[in-house]
Symmetry: C2
Subunit: 305 residues, 2 copies
């Protein structure tokens, strides 16, 4: 149980992300404690990045049945190293309890109030669709490519890109469930459709080497856990995008269209099927419900009078 | 994984409480889903009450291995009924996963900025020590008194009292680990000692009937889970206290003194021993570390440069 006060550094809205990671479900039980600390914080920072928030404060609860001292130290080191890069203050608490679970809450603010938070609901026909970095690498690691393990275990939250995209992007989301699934959330929230040219998907050399182009494209479309940002930009803001301090390369992969649904186009311009969705590590453990991941644009249940 | 934006309704600091309740550790596995929903929110509201914050927004993550629909509906009803009383907006998310775990984050604000948040560190020699409601009832329920089960399963967070005490109390804490233990936190944070007259402890008729005065006094001193507020008031503010809209009776139980440590006095004015601390339901499951429960007054680890 933790409580703290915090005086937001910027006026206007605050963003609050909350996530619980369980060993064997959200990370491999044999992964290093440093990576667990990193990833638990990274996935929450990625949620803030998708809104363009600047992370300010975090609370971390670790439940571990019997943590060796070195384990706790490494876990904290993984957290602290990532937090330090964003000048994020972290409060920690530990409980002896199974299963190994990490709960992280991160609060952020929106500097430059004139540039509103990024939402999923702002994509408009004619907007270009972009993604940061490369896609499919985390899924490639899950599929056995050892060279990509770092992309699965130590994801890089795109915090500077998210902050820079406020005022430029009309919508944004972080790719945690797979590009097709997450773009689908944007399309539904925005009431639009889209086409994606799969030949344009940014694929890492390591992914192409390990799986070849076809399978790599499948992984990029359906694989999760990449924590890249997908976002939409209207034509008149392409110039602003080119000049924005994103701190990561971005690739145009498609276009927002009228209508509904996502059309994936192959190299011949014809439709390309999207493979089945990505699964978590433990078969049968179940997926997180979508719940109110759409919360910024979806209504919350109203309190009864 | 949940993220939302929220525009704080009041300027100044915000308060954020975070807690994870696990079946068999923090609540009885056979308790009703309505009570689980209530208690998961109540313990976080109690943390905000101890700071005098007004609760505004909550995020709730439910992990359940296989929740029947009626179970989820009752759980939500327990949450929503409590939330509605404080006009608190709640976002919910569910995951299929064992063990049954509820994670709650609640954010609050501080209306009337001239009255600062309550802290543990402000008690001064000469202040009177008060508690809300009655003590020991939850521990009495744990010890077998069925008539007190509601006090254990459906604790009442003292939100209106906490809000009204800003500007009046010099320190406050919620009694979750037992009066002696929690007052100890206040004494250490404030650098003072205290004496408590055990004959003044507010004991419910049901507790006295079930256990007699001596054992009831032990339960009141060492039993946890009551979620009443303990707070300190300087003599010149007793009048303000009497007029404050606390929405719960309060009882003066002792006095803050110079020095350190808590002295408990019996009916003869001599020292009365404090029984051993309260244990959670499951023997050997371990207690939550104190962690940064003192966060409002304790420094957080600084990020490395």
């Amino acid at each position: 149980m933790t409580v703290r006060t915090w005086r937001p550094e910027d006026p206007g809205p605050v963003a609050i992300a909350l996530d619980t990671l369980v060993a064997g479900v959200h990370f491999r039980a044999d992964v290093s404690p440093r990576a667990i600390g990193h990833k638990a914080l990274a996935v929450n920072l990625s949620d803030l990045a998708a809104m363009g928030a600047r992370p300010r404060r975090a609370l971390v609860h670790l439940a571990h049945p019997d943590p060796p001292e070195a384990w706790e130290r490494e876990f904290a080191a993984g957290l602290d190293a990532l937090a330090a890069r964003f000048t994020l203050r972290v409060g920690r608490e530990a409980t002896r309890r199974a299963p190994l679970t990490v709960t992280v809450e991160v609060a952020g603010t929106f500097p430059h109030a004139a540039r509103p938070p990024l939402r999923r609901s702002g994509a408009r026909p004619g907007d270009a669709i972009y993604v940061t970095g490369t896609l499919g690498d985390a899924a490639g690691a899950l599929a056995g490519a050892a060279a990509l393990a770092g992309r699965l275990d130590l994801p890089e939250p795109r915090v500077p890109a998210g902050m820079a995209l406020r005022g430029i992007a009309t919508s944004a989301i972080d790719v945690s469930d797979g590009l097709a699934a997450d773009l689908g959330h944007v399309l539904r929230a925005s009431g639009v459709g889209a086409s994606v040219e799969t030949a344009r998907l940014p694929l890492s050399p390591a992914l192409l080497t390990a799986f070849g182009r076809e399978r790599a494209t499948d992984l990029a479309l359906a694989g999760g856990d990449d924590y890249e940002l997908a976002f939409t930009v209207p034509p008149e803001r392409e110039r602003l995008l080119a000049e924005a301090p994103l701190e990561v390369p971005v690739t145009r992969i498609g276009t927002i269209e009228r209508g509904t649904g996502l059309r994936c186009l192959g190299t011949d311009g014809g439709p390309r099927p999207v493979p089945r969705g990505y699964e978590h590590f433990v078969t049968g453990a179940g997926r997180d419900g979508e719940g109110n991941r759409d919360a910024p644009s979806a209504p919350e249940p109203s309190p009864r009078p």
